[in-house]
């Protein structure tokens, strides 16, 4: 409906926006502002614990830091492919837009897989949200770490689903359901990801409802807005990486 009302490029019909851009983009920016406060609160909670505890554990050794550095590289590269996708969409080159979005999704998925492996390693060493094997008197390390990185991982997962929907629309739903089934089958029953994979199922249901209620051809503006969300997820990691990993290195 709103797409019909606000015809971009028709001057004089409506008063121009105070912010000089289309309302969908302002909406996404406002969401990202509120989301940055959510992440801000989680980052501040982690840092508060980090400062006030001299015995804060430093479990991230060489392999862990190398892994986190590769994850950072994946996210930064995914931002590059995303911005190239936005550029292709502006040219009206739908084929290249799709390919760049696929590349972004591959980098994002690689990030999730690497992060999941790292989580599994930490859980295997006996870390839970309530205790950790390195500093028994600092139980909040697990809670703040898993909340912060888990929230970020959830955002990356939602981002991959969002991009899939923008690139493929209804055709993405079977892909998403197949992914859900595969991950559910390959993860061991006692793994946290055996349960967490149901996020993909919830995502598929939400995406199906949206695609059913508002079927449309996504244009360059929609690609740009998806890109804003994706870059924000990358941006948050630029703070999680130094605060959580680099400040807790075990040399």
């Amino acid at each position: 409906m709103s797409d019909v009302a606000v015809q971009h490029g028709i001057a004089g019909a409506y008063e121009p926006s105070l912010f000089g851009t289309y309302s969908k983009k302002i909406g996404m920016w406002l969401f990202l502002l509120s989301d940055s406060l959510t992440f801000g609160a989680l980052l501040f909670a982690y840092s508060y614990g980090r400062i006030s505890n001299p015995d804060w554990p430093t479990p991230f050794g060489k392999a862990s830091i190398a892994n986190a550095t590769i994850m950072t590289g994946c996210l930064l590269s995914s931002s590059l492919t995303m911005v190239l996708g936005v550029l292709a969409a502006r040219r009206g080159d739908f084929r290249w837009t799709r390919w760049w979005i696929f590349a972004t999704m591959v980098f994002g998925s690689a990030f999730i897989v690497l992060h999941a492996k790292e989580w599994s390693g930490l859980i295997g060493e006996g870390m839970t949200p309530f205790k950790n094997p390195w500093a028994p008197n600092v139980p909040q390390f697990g809670g703040t770490f898993f909340t912060l990185t888990g929230m970020h991982m959830l955002h990356v997962t939602i981002g991959v689903i969002y991009l899939g929907v923008v690139a493929l629309r209804k055709k993405f739903l079977p892909v998403l359901l197949a992914l859900w089934l595969i991950v559910w089958l390959v993860t061991p029953a006692d793994s946290i990801f055996h349960i967490a994979v149901h996020v993909l199922l919830v995502g598929a249901v939400v995406a199906a409802v949206i695609l059913f209620l508002k079927p449309k051809d996504y244009d360059a503006h929609d690609v740009e807005i998806a890109g804003l969300y994706w870059h924000f997820v990358d941006l948050v990691w630029m703070f999680i990486f130094p605060l959580v990993y680099l400040m807790s290195t075990r040399v």
Binding site: W29, L33, Y48, G49, I65, H231
Partner: protein, 103 residues
């Protein structure tokens, strides 16, 4: 997917530059942290400055805020920076606890 008119047109080259600078800054951060060049508090300051530079590059170029009008830039950035700074009030308490030596 139809063509949408754009207000500005920039080349691909600058995105590769920004990407390269982001990767280099990340490498610098890792080396600094792994060699433990600074004391923890100084390290935190250095890492935060580098991260803020990185986020400015991402917001400015990848999220295109550089190309938005002044009203958009100021409203968005002032709001988020002010709110995040307000959260910093709690750090006074964290420092108080560590100086008291509460177990």
């Amino acid at each position: 997917m139809h063509h949408v008119a754009t207000t500005h047109d920039e080349g691909k080259g600058q995105y590769f530059w920004v990407w390269g600078v982001l990767l280099i800054l990340t490498a610098v951060e890792v080396v600094l942290a792994y060699r433990q060049v600074f004391q923890p508090v100084r390290m935190l300051e250095v890492l935060m400055v580098l991260s803020i530079i990185k986020s400015a590059l991402i917001i400015g170029y990848f999220m295109h805020l550089k190309y938005e009008i002044a009203a958009m830039k100021w409203v968005m950035m002032v709001a988020v920076v002010a709110c995040l700074c307000l959260m910093g009030i709690f750090f006074a308490d964290a420092f108080r606890i560590i100086h008291l030596g509460v177990q």
